[in-house]
């Protein structure tokens, strides 16, 4: 078995008449944090949505643990152990925090020790356990959506911009949680616009532009090479320093 948990080979995805992904190649190593970077609108979110199966690849191949999941339905991909945290968080605001978490525990009742661990990472969850998720603040919602993905052991986490629109104090909680997850040996594919967070968490980095992967390598290499950053991601990234 390869040491990549996920591999994309020449994936092309069209939405309506638009060719959003134009042949994406990507390797996600096992037990590491893989960053997916790039300017807005280059296809990062589409890549994640194509992996989980919300959108279908028209060409190319997606391998999860060596198994072809290109045409597998979304629920089945999820049950193979893929946790998805979408950009819009996808929390169920009519359901309580507890119900959100219960629903996320697909294979049965919530494991209590795991829940206690999550409470220690995200204390707010315990406080608002019985509240409707819709009444939470933006940061709390984001914590809920990550905790929801973590309630059971997943092979792979797909996380789309978890720090988007959050206050700096909450960003650090979020970064701490992701580090905690990483320390458990999880494999994570992370889309992140905040370069500081990316630098702190990422092992490898992949930069997209215009529906293609334009650079792949060690996060460190990218983090220390200002010219490279400038060339790959332009000024958008700098704004986040």
């Amino acid at each position: 078995m390869s040491d990549n948990i996920l591999t994309l080979k020449g994936v092309k995805t069209n939405i309506a008449q638009y060719h959003i992904l134009q042949g994406v190649d990507l390797d996600v190593p096992r037990g590491a944090v893989t960053m997916l970077l790039g300017r807005n609108g280059v296809g990062k979110t589409t890549t994640l949505r194509t992996i989980i199966g919300h959108w279908r690849a028209h060409e190319g191949q997606i391998l999860l643990d060596g198994e072809d999941i290109t045409k597998v339905p979304t629920p089945a991909i999820a049950r193979m152990g893929v946790g998805f945290v979408p950009e819009d968080m996808g929390i169920f605001s009519d359901l309580s925090v507890e119900e959100n978490m219960t629903l996320a525990a697909v294979s049965g009742p919530i494991n209590d020790s795991r829940l206690q661990w999550l409470f220690s990472v995200f204390p707010a969850l315990e406080t608002f356990w019985k509240k409707d998720a819709g009444t939470l603040s933006g940061g709390q919602k984001q914590m809920l959506t990550i905790a929801r993905a973590m309630i059971e052991d997943r092979k792979l986490y797909l996380i789309d911009e978890p720090t988007k629109g959050l206050a700096p104090a909450i960003i650090s909680t979020m970064a701490k949680a992701l580090r905690e997850l990483k320390s458990q040996g999880a494999s994570i594919l992370l889309v992140e616009q905040n370069f500081a967070v990316a630098k702190a968490l990422g092992d490898t980095a992949n930069v997209m532009d215009d529906g293609r992967m334009v650079w792949s390598g060690e996060m460190n290499t990218l983090a220390t090479d200002g010219d490279l950053q400038e060339r790959l991601m332009g000024l958008t990234m700098d704004g986040h320093h």
Binding site: I52, H54, P73, T74, P75, A76, A78, R79, F84, P86, D88, G90, F92, S93, D94, L95, E99, N100, T102, L103, A104, V106, G134, R148
Partner: protein, 343 residues
């Protein structure tokens, strides 16, 4: 004329209004009852009318609940929902006519058993029919409202015509089971026994549905799916299966409603489903498309209003529901309990 109600913007008042706001729909039902009590001169008539109104509302709710859930979950609007009402009524009434020795006997136990058989038979028939309807008629037109409306309307026509082929074009008269005929007197008001049964069954269905939606995992999936089906799938649940299940259950409930409605009217026709669609639509629009609670409250309001107005001014009864719908939509354009949709 009395002075205008006090509108001093004191702190206490704002909080009271704020606290009452979420319960406004429930309060509306109570308010309607109180209005009825004021408008109707005799308390006993009011009680009689209120019970009939509740009975009617419960039956409409049973018929409409499936429609609103199916819409909420998959954004599918089924104009053929009334077909299940008709088929349920015909299957149930046929069974009751076949069980005449049980319905004719003056024993409540035997009567209720016969009714139970009829109801189960009708629900199985309409449930299966719903499953087939979903597969053949609805599935090919997911995500396409225009086609859904046209195709499901076509389905309704076909089913109505098939009922005529199978049962003949004449209406069928049915008398209620022996022990459910007549009325009981309570506080000077004559209350038909059958209406009490209808209220009871309606309450059981509503509470059962609430329990399933609030306390079971399937219920969680359905509620979550109404808000964001894509995310439910990303968690690992096959929403399509859940949807087929809801469609089937909703059709079976419509069938149950058909049996109850048929016994209430004591006559059934192939077009009764189509006619019931009018009230069903009014109720789900009032309640907020996709909301079970809203549907329940809307149904009770329509039932009560129709009965009160029919007593006070028979000719206006029919338009009163349209008027109610217009008034509610002016107040809340999405219905009383709007359903939150992601996206």
């Amino acid at each position: 004329m009395s002075a205008a109600p006090d509108h001093n913007p004191t702190m206490a008042q704002t909080t009271l209004v704020q606290r009452l706001e979420p319960h406004a729909p429930v309060l509306l039902v109570l308010g309607l009852m109180i209005l009825g009590l004021i408008a109707i001169p005799s308390t006993s008539s009011w009680l009689t009318l209120t019970v009939s109104g509740l009975a009617m509302g419960m039956m409409i709710f049973i018929m409409a609940s499936g429609l609103t859930l199916v819409f909420g979950l998959m954004d599918v609007i089924n104009f053929g929902h009334g077909a299940f009402v008709s088929v349920g009524a015909f299957v149930g009434v046929s069974l009751l006519l076949g069980l005449e020795h049980m319905t004719g006997a003056p024993s409540l136990a035997l009567n209720l058993t016969a009714m139970l058989v009829a109801i189960l038979g009708a629900m199985v028939a309409t449930g299966l029919m719903g499953w087939a309807f979903e597969k053949v008629i609805v599935k090919p037109v997911y995500g396409h409202h225009l086609k859904q409306i046209l195709v499901t309307m076509g389905g309704l026509i076909v089913v109505e015509q098939l009922i005529i082929v199978l049962w003949g074009p004449e209406e069928i008269y049915i008398t209620r089971p022996e022990a459910l005929k007549g009325a009981v007197t309570f506080a000077g008001a004559a209350i038909e026994k059958y209406r009490l049964v209808a209220v009871g069954i309606g309450a059981v269905v509503f509470l059962g549905m609430r329990w399933v939606l609030r306390s079971t995992k399937i219920g969680l999936i359905v509620r979550a799916g109404v808000e964001n089906g894509e995310m439910v799938e990303a968690l690992g649940y096959r929403l399509r299966l859940v949807f087929v299940g809801v469609f089937l259950a909703g059709s079976a409930l419509a069938g149950l409603g058909g049996v109850l409605w048929g016994l209430y009217q004591e006559v059934i026709t192939a077009h009764m489903g189509n006619q019931s669609m009018i009230l069903i639509f009014i109720v789900v629009i009032i309640g907020g498309l996709g909301s079970v609670e809203g549907c329940f409250i809307g149904a009770l309001m329509v039932g009560l209003l129709q009965n009160y107005v029919a007593f006070l001014e028979p000719k206006v009864a029919l338009i009163s529901n349209i008027g109610l719908m217009v008034a509610i939509l002016m107040w809340r354009p999405q219905g009383m309990i709007p359903v939150v949709k992601a996206k």
